[in-house]
Amino acid sequence: MPQLDPSSFGSQLFWLAICFVTLYLVMAVFVLPRITGTLAARADQMEGDLAEAEALRDKAEAALAAYEEALAQARTRALGLAQDMRADVQAETELQKSELDASLAATAKAADARLEAARTKAMEGLQNAAQDIVADVMSAVGVEQADEKAVAKAVTQAFASTSDTVKAG
């Protein structure tokens, strides 16, 4: 059995030591640190990508929330604007209506006043005419120098009662 021949042990051990130490050094210095680095870089990149994806998703969700909030605000504002507009229109209408009412009332009042003035003037004219007629009648009858004051008083009394009946009528 060649394995039990001690004459080969020396050279086998010598070359085994050289080979194994060389392999160890190559592995420990060149190969393993590189692979460790690559694997770590890959793990980092995957972690980074996942984190980025999560951040982007959070951002998208935030954007959606902001959009919905903006939409709700816009809706509330539109509702408010519509209400304001309605109130404005109503107020304007009321104002115009009241102004119109006021001007109509003023016109009616003025017309009434003019009517009253015309009536009063007509009455006065009528009274003067009646006095003149009374004076003419009296002079025709022969009553000279009639008491003008008494005539005016009588005519006025007669008119007052007439106008009372006219007014009552």
Binding site: M1, S11, C19, V26
Partner: protein
């Protein structure tokens, strides 16, 4: 080194001939050590050369998405790294380069031994024993460095009646000291037995066919093919077994959970 045996004639093939060590380049003896470059040295150099070439090429230009070669390198790395992490824990990663080199060296020596006309480095007890002794020394040194004299508690099992203790301590010490023997003999025995068997069946095939009995040679030939497959499996498995036992011993030295 062993003399030439009767290598003439198919039936006369010496199955142990393949394990003979003969110098290729005679070198002088330095400090009592014969430094001659032998066929064993050649296959050791080939093993470390090929494995270094493969792993350097695999780790030379690395990218985040690996190519085939890079992936193979990374898979060997992860295979051993996971073995260390699972059996020793993260403290064991300090010894990862050593364990990785050990695995790669044994694996390449075993696999190269499967080539026809090659020499199987790991079929020599002196080589496997040197590797096992290195592991044994490392484990023992790590144990004493981490726990001091307390490392000796490893030999005192807990929860045992005091009367049995002396006996058990002796058994524990013996089993600890025989570890390098069992570790080296396991690898050496597997390699030598497999290659011897292949050679014996090969001898049958050559002998029977040269005697004109080719139909009779079919059965040993088929067996040889089957055993070659088995041997490839064993070559990988024994590298794994050697490595995982190293991890288990290291774990014991670091954590002392016996």
């Amino acid at each position: 080194m062993a003399g030439k045996s009767n290598a003439e004639g198919g039936a006369g093939i010496d199955p142990m001939h393949q394990f003979e060590v003969h110098p290729i380049i005679e070198l002088p003896t330095v400090a009592g050590i014969d430094t001659s470059f032998t066929n064993a040295s050649l296959w050791m150099v080939l093993a470390i050369g090929l494995s270094s070439l493969f792993l350097i090429a695999a780790s030379r230009r690395t990218s985040i998405v690996p190519g085939r070669l890079q992936l193979m390198g990374e898979m060997s790395y992860s295979f051993v790294a996971n073995m260390v992490k699972e059996n020793v824990g993260t403290e064991g990663m300090k010894y990862f380069p050593f364990i990785f080199s050990l695995f790669i060296f044994i694996l390449f020596c075993n696999m190269l031994g499967m080539l026809p006309y090659s020499f199987t480095v790991t079929s020599h007890l002196i080589v496997t024993f040197a590797l096992a002794a290195t592991v044994f020394l490392l484990v023992t040194l790590v144990g004493f460095a981490r726990h001091g004299v307390g490392f000796l508690k490893l030999f005192v099992p807990s929860g045992i009646p005091v009367i049995l203790l002396p006996l058990l301590v002796v058994i524990e010490v013996i089993s600890y000291l025989t570890r390098p023997v069992s570790l080296s003999v396991r690898l050496f025995g597997n390699m030598m037995a497999g290659h011897t068997m292949l050679k014996i069946f090969g001898g049958f095939v050559v002998g029977l066919s040269s005697a004109g009995l080719i139909p009779l040679a079919i059965a040993p030939f088929a067996l040889m093919v089957a055993f070659t497959g088995l041997e490839l499996l064993i070559a990988g498995l024994q590298a794994y077994v050697f490595t995982i036992l190293t991890c288990i011993y290291l774990n014991e030295a670091i954590h002392m959970d016996h």
